[in-house]
Structures are given as structure tokens and as C-alpha cells.
């Protein structure tokens, strides 16, 4: 059975996964890098993507594929025809920088899908990235969470603008779907409902 949950008009269902995620080959060097451009001089232990990894990445010749951000940036020229055909999506890791994507792809809505890969479910950067993609970068197409995606984070992912969730292979996606509706009247405005409770409801003291 498919592990993919998709949200359409706030209705969740299990959906066929049309997209193949292109992986980077494993890195051979224990490279460390700074967390993006924003935080200077700070070792975070995040792996940087090497030239060898980028050149060693195998992109299937046809079909819908989601390529790593670094590969997308490096190979954009070659991919342009497929981008125009709507066959290319991009995925990024939680430590990667959205500005890098925007710099190389001024109209994000040319991409039918963006995925954010979360290595450990407890990494909450994914929520800020989703929110920024939706609000700051006005991304309107499918926004997918991939990686260590588990039931108990789905409600937050939904509120942060994700509308598709690839549940970790060893978990039951059907059951996970239930948690999208854990709370029916959240307090604060977020992506899915921008108005906070005090605007949505007539709350009287």
C-alpha cells in the first residue's frame, strides 16, 4: 500500500506516489560545514554536499523526479526542458537555505512539487521551512514532507503548509492520517488558517 498521505481541500486520503526521490550517493568525506549563510563561523555537524556526490547522482531519464537542491542548482541547464514539462521537483534538507533555491529558480511555482527531507522527526526546522515556502515565497504547489515523517508531527506539518506526507515505510499511513485532525480549534494563526482563534471566533469573556 502507498505510504503517501495527501490533503485536498482539507480532506486527507492515501494517494499513489507519482514522484521518485533522487538520492545523493553517500559522501566519502566527513565534511562539516556552516549552517547556511546566515550563521557565520558555526560548525553544526551538517554534511555538505560534495562535487563528487553531485556528479555521481543518477537522475532517471524519464518520469517525475524530485532532485536534491544541490543537484538542481548544479544541473539546472540540463534539466530545463524537463522542468518546463513539469517533471522536476526539488527536495532540500532542513539545514539547507531557501534563498539558495529562490536564487536559482525565481518562480518556484514552476515546480510542481517541493519536498523537505527531515532526517530525525524531532527536527522542527521543517516547520519553519514549510511556512516560509508558503508565505515568504508564495509557493502554491504540492509541499511534501519526506524522511522520518511520523504520525505525531502531522498536525504541525499540516499547519505549517505541508499538504503531502510520505509516512516512514515501517508505519501505517492509514492510521497516521487520523492525527491530522488532533485539534479542531487551534489558538494561533498559521499557514492553513491564518487567523488566530481570537479573530475566528467571537470569544466573550
Amino acid at each position: 500500500m502507498s505510504q503517501l498521505i495527501k490533503l485536498n481541500d482539507n480532506v486527507a486520503s492515501i494517494a499513489e506516489n507519482e514522484w521518485t526521490v533522487v538520492q545523493l550517493p553517500p559522501s566519502l568525506v566527513e565534511a562539516r560545514k556552516q549552517a547556511g549563510k546566515v550563521v557565520l563561523f558555526k560548525l553544526t555537524g551538517e554534511q555538505t554536499v560534495s562535487e563528487e556526490q553531485i556528479s555521481g547522482t543518477v537522475i532517471p531519464e524519464s518520469g517525475k523526479v524530485i532532485v536534491p537542491l544541490s543537484v538542481f542548482i548544479a544541473c539546472k541547464a540540463q534539466l530545463q526542458a524537463r522542468i518546463n514539462a513539469g517533471e522536476i521537483g526539488v527536495w532540500l534538507d532542513t539545514h539547507e537555505v531557501l534563498a539558495d533555491l529562490a536564487e536559482h529558480q525565481s518562480d518556484l511555482n514552476q515546480l510542481p512539487i517541493i519536498a523537505v527531507h527531515v532526517e530525525r522527526f524531532a527536527d522542527g526546522r521543517i516547520f519553519s521551512l514549510g511556512l516560509l515556502l508558503r508565505t515568504r515565497y508564495s509557493f502554491k504547489n504540492e509541499l511534501r514532507a519526506i524522511g522520518d515523517v511520523l504520525r505525531d508531527q502531522l498536525f504541525f506539518l499540516k499547519r505549517s503548509g505541508f499538504d503531502s506526507y510520505l509516512i516512514r515505510a515501517d508505519r501505517n499511513a492509514e492510521e497516521a492520517m487520523l492525527s491530522l485532525n488532533d485539534f479542531s480549534a487551534p489558538y494561533q494563526g498559521a499557514v492553513d488558517e491564518t487567523r488566530p482563534a481570537f479573530v475566528r471566533y467571537n470569544r466573550v469573556a
Binding site: F41, S128, A190
Partner: protein
């Protein structure tokens, strides 16, 4: 105080259902230990040394009589008939069963309470001054804003899994009693030049392994923007705070790494997009919430009460208690009362179910059915008539709630430490008890005067040892328990972080070490000088010399 409407109630009810299912899945093996961990933590459930520990949220320290009765009943039914009030103004149960927690939450929900975000890497309970709303030096009652912020931070989707815990304090007084400079975000409310409510925002303070006072990120923020501005701060932190090393993951490390100016410019850049977004607080919402914190229906009373004055004159024991336990009140004829949870030789901050019922009854009878928890781990009746104080004292006394040591050496702030906490390096409660017994003489305690002694069982600093005038920290040396002593720390507007006096001590030595510190103070003080001021005037050297010199003689 704030009363739930349908929206609030629905949320805590749905929370109970959610957590019940999470617990079920964990017990059924559908959730791994690692996966369940952040879920139970966000619900205040730790796995401790002896049993799980459940931390129940007491938002900004406010409780109703009804709630305290319920807490007493819960402690009785699900625990060993006592609870521990923490330095975060919350209540901790030390012995609940993991499988009982969903039922405990359901009981809590029935009195508009919960355990949401009382631990874990998320925005924690928002704390404030225990005298909010009644303090004469108050400029703005911060509780309405604290409640607005509580709601905003509850299950905030973007900030559900931060690099590390995140603590916010708010204050609205001239004399800061909420320790805003020690928080990840501190908000100080004041009236600006146009007589409008504004906020001075501090960021990056915190205790723990790297104690640091917060820096001012904004001198003037209009109150409407409190939530969006916090969102900008927490977003920068969420994206760029370290996640590879939990000791370096607090916002203070990020602020320090970037420098406050760079951090500020990143926050301001973020806020430029967020300002005036829908989370901007409306006049109507603030007014709605503030209604719940309107002044109590006080009686019109003269500033003096003859029966009270007479009791003070005729009863020295009552007078002693009154001297330490009563606090000035905005309203003529009223006082705020601190009930001490620090009887000598007991674990600081602990209250039995019986004591909780007694305090709840006292609040019901004499203080409009409300009470507060202080970060000094005592309970406060905020609105007692002068003429009722004697009756309050008599009853409190019978139940061990009237030790006249508020603000004195034995009013120790103390974390649960090695007796309960699995992170501890050393026990803290027995040290507190030993010190209390060493100084078990009220006249002497009063002579020593105002002093704060804080104890933490490890670097995490739940006992706020860095800001104790005397701070004691449990350390681990080759597997045995030792104690490092610092002096000169302080909370309040003039906050400072204590300096370590030298090599650490064994548990046995601790009462004598504190005694020696006090001896130096007594010898050196000028009339009217408090311990902290003597330390500030003389520095650490004379204290250190005496403590360690004596050591060599006896060795």
C-alpha cells in the same frame, strides 16, 4: 483569573484524547522509546530515577481553590499524597504511573488545567511576578498578556520542536520579580512617553551550563506586536540554533555566537514580514482576556486595623511571622501573604495533599478563592484583609505553613536533585535540609536578614543557583557527589551571576561552609548592609580566604 471558554476547553479535552492514544500506542509497542520521548516530554512526563515525574502547568503561577483541591486529590489518588512546587511555578508529581497519566490529564482538564509543554524542546510555561495585580510598584498587570502568550504558544505548529527548551517571562513592575533577564525571552512592560503600554524585550538570558544575562533586543515594542515579534525571534532561533549538541542548543548560545547586533538585525528582517500579520493582538482580545484579571471586589478599608495591630504587639510569634510573610498591597487594608513551603528539615517546595486542601480552603475563605505559586517555591494568598491575617496565621501554623523565614536563609530554592531527578549529579534536598537545621534559630535567621540561597543538583540549574546570593551546585567528581559554592549572584533589576569561591565540598562540609560565609558577613557588614551588598563591596576574596583557611587548620 482566566476562565476557559469553549475553545480553551475543547483544546485540553482533545489533548487528553491525543495523549491517551499516544500512551496506548507506546504501551502497545507501536511507538519506540525514542519516538514517545518528545511526546511524553511535551506533556511534562519525565522518566525519573525512581518513577515517572509529571509536571503540571500552573500558567504564570495562578491557581484557584478548586484547582488546588483537585491537585491535592490527584496527588492523593495517583501519588504519595504530596507534590512539589517548582521554580517554574509548576507542580510536580514524583510517583505517578505512566499508564495513569491520561486519567490524570482528564482530571486536570475538568478544572481547566493541563500539562501541555511543561517540558520538552518547546515554549514552556510563561512565568511572571507572584504579586502581579496587587503589587504597589506595579505599572502594568502582566497577566493578561501572559495569558494571550500562553494561548499563542500552546501547540504553536512552527515551534513544536525547537533545538531546546524555550522560556519566556513577563513583568510589569519597577522591581523585576520575574527574573526577565534570565529567560530566553524576557518582556518588561512599561508605559512609554505617550502613556501607551510598551515592551522592553530581552533575549538570550538563561542559566544552565553557560549562565548568561539577557541582552536588550528592543527597547520599545508596542504591545500589539508581542506575538509576531516573538515569532520572529523564535523563528531565527528555530532555523539557526544548534541541534548537534544539546549543551549548545539554547538561544543564548546563538545570540552569543552572532552577537546581539547581528541577531537583532536578523530578527528585525524577519519581523518586517511578520509585523501586522493576523497574529497581531487586537484591542478586543486584550480587553477580553484582561476582564478576567480585573481587580477583586475589595472592601473599602482603612490602612490600619486595630485587631491586627494589637495582635502584633501582644504576640511576638505572630509579629515575627508577619514581618517576613506579609507584602504590601495596592489596596488599603489588604496584604499579600506568603505561606512558607520551607519548614526546616523538609524538602523545599513540597506540599502534602492535606496542606494543599488547607491552602485552598484559606484562599476560599480569605482571598477570593485564588492563590499563586512563586518561583521561590512558596504559595501566596494575594488579597487578605488585615483583620483576617491572624486567623490565616493560626490555621497555617497548625499545618506547618507558617515558618517565618520568607526571604531568609532557610527559604531555600532547591531543585528535586538526586533523590528524584535522573539528570542530577548530586542530591540537593538533603543539603537544603542540613543547612536549614544548621540555622534553625529564628532570631539568628532574622539577624542575618534578607538572603537567597539556591541549590541545583546539576548544571541544568533548575534551582537557579547562579542567581542565589549563595549558590550551591551539585557536581560529580569521580562518581561521588560534591558541591560547588558561588556567591554574589542575584535576581531582580540588578541581576548578576555568582562567582565560584573555589574547589568543591562534600555534603558533610556544606552546613559549615555556609556558616563560615555567614560569619564573614556578620563580621564585615556595615549597619543595614545585606549579605549581597557586603559581597558586592568586598568581593569574593575575604569569604574565600576564611572558608578555605579554616579548612586547612581542621584538615
Amino acid at each position: 483569573m482566566y476562565k476557559y471558554d469553549e475553545i480553551d476547553q475543547r483544546l485540553v479535552d482533545e489533548r487528553v484524547a491525543q495523549y491517551r492514544d499516544q500512551t496506548r500506542r507506546y504501551l502497545a509497542g507501536e511507538l519506540s522509546e525514542e519516538e514517545f520521548r518528545p511526546l511524553r516530554l511535551q506533556n511534562g512526563l519525565y522518566i525519573q530515577r525512581l518513577a515517572p515525574m509529571l509536571r503540571i502547568a500552573v500558567p504564570y503561577g495562578m491557581l484557584s481553590s478548586k484547582q488546588l483541591h483537585k491537585l491535592a486529590d490527584i496527588a492523593h489518588s495517583y501519588d504519595h499524597s504530596y507534590g512539589h512546587f517548582s521554580t517554574r511555578q509548576n507542580l510536580q508529581l514524583n510517583w505517578p504511573k505512566l499508564e495513569d497519566v491520561p486519567d490524570i490529564l482528564a482530571e486536570l482538564a475538568s478544572v481547566e488545567m493541563h500539562a501541555i509543554q511543561t517540558s520538552g524542546n518547546c515554549i514552556r510555561n510563561i512565568t511572571t511576578d507572584q504579586f502581579a495585580g496587587v503589587a504597589p510598584d506595579e505599572i502594568i498587570d502582566p497577566r493578561a498578556m501572559a495569558e494571550v502568550m500562553r494561548q499563542w504558544s500552546t501547540f504553536h505548529p512552527e515551534f513544536a520542536l525547537l533545538p531546546r527548551k524555550f522560556k519566556i517571562a513577563v513583568s510589569g513592575t519597577k522591581d523585576d520579580r520575574a527574573v526577565v533577564q534570565m529567560h530566553d525571552i524576557g518582556m518588561e512592560f512599561y508605559l512609554d512617553n505617550h502613556n501607551k503600554v510598551a515592551i522592553k524585550v530581552w533575549v538570550g538570558g538563561g542559566l544552565g551550563r553557560t549562565p548568561i544575562l539577557g541582552a536588550v533586543i528592543r527597547e520599545h515594542l508596542e504591545w500589539q506586536h508581542a506575538l509576531t515579534y516573538c515569532e520572529a525571534i523564535v523563528r531565527v532561533y528555530n532555523l539557526h540554533g544548534r541541534r548537534d549538541n544539546s549543551y549548545k542548543a539554547r538561544i543564548k548560545i546563538l545570540v552569543k555566537a552572532l552577537g546581539i547586533d547581528e541577531f537583532r538585525s536578523q530578527v528585525e528582517a524577519e519581523w518586517a514580514h511578520l509585523k501586522d500579520a493576523p497574529n497581531t493582538i487586537t484591542e478586543a482580545e486584550l480587553a477580553r482576556v484582561a476582564k478576567h484579571f480585573e481587580a477583586m471586589p475589595y472592601a473599602n478599608l482603612p490602612a490600619h486595623d486595630a485587631s491586627f495591630d494589637a495582635a502584633i504587639v501582644s504576640n511576638p510569634v505572630f509579629a515575627n511571622w508577619a514581618k517576613r510573610s506579609l507584602h504590601a498591597h495596592k489596596t488599603s487594608g489588604y496584604r499579600a501573604v506568603t505561606l512558607s513551603l520551607k519548614p526546616h528539615g523538609k524538602a523545599p517546595g513540597d506540599a502534602t495533599s492535606e496542606q494543599m486542601h488547607v491552602v485552598a480552603d484559606l484562599a476560599e475563605q480569605y482571598s477570593f478563592g485564588e492563590l499563586r505559586v512563586s518561583h521561590e517555591q512558596n504559595l501566596i494568598l494575594a488579597d487578605v484583609k488585615l483583620s483576617d491575617l491572624f486567623a490565616v496565621w493560626e490555621k497555617a501554623r497548625v499545618y506547618g505553613l507558617a515558618t517565618p523565614n520568607i526571604g531568609l536563609l532557610t527559604d531555600i530554592i532547591c531543585c528535586p536533585g538526586g533523590d528524584f531527578c535522573s539528570l542530577a549529579n548530586a542530591k540537593s534536598i538533603p543539603i537544603a535540609q542540613a543547612i536549614q537545621m544548621q540555622f534553625d534559630n529564628l532570631d539568628y535567621l532574622h539577624d542575618i536578614g534578607d538572603i537567597e540561597l539556591n541549590i541545583s543538583g546539576c548544571m541544568n540549574a533548575c534551582g537557579h543557583h547562579h542567581i542565589g546570593h549563595i549558590g550551591i551546585l551539585g557536581v560529580d567528581k569521580d562518581g561521588s557527589e560534591w558541591y560547588q559554592v558561588s556567591i554574589g549572584g542575584s535576581q531582580g533589576n540588578n541581576a548578576s551571576i555568582g562567582s565560584v569561591i573555589g574547589p568543591s565540598f562534600s555534603a558533610d562540609e556544606m552546613p559549615a561552609v555556609v556558616q563560615k560565609l555567614i560569619d564573614v558577613y556578620i563580621k564585615e557588614r556595615t549597619p543595614e548592609e545585606l549579605f549581597i551588598d557586603t559581597v558586592r563591596r568586598l568581593g569574593v576574596a575575604p569569604f574565600k580566604a576564611y572558608v578555605y583557611a579554616q579548612d586547612e587548620v581542621t584538615a
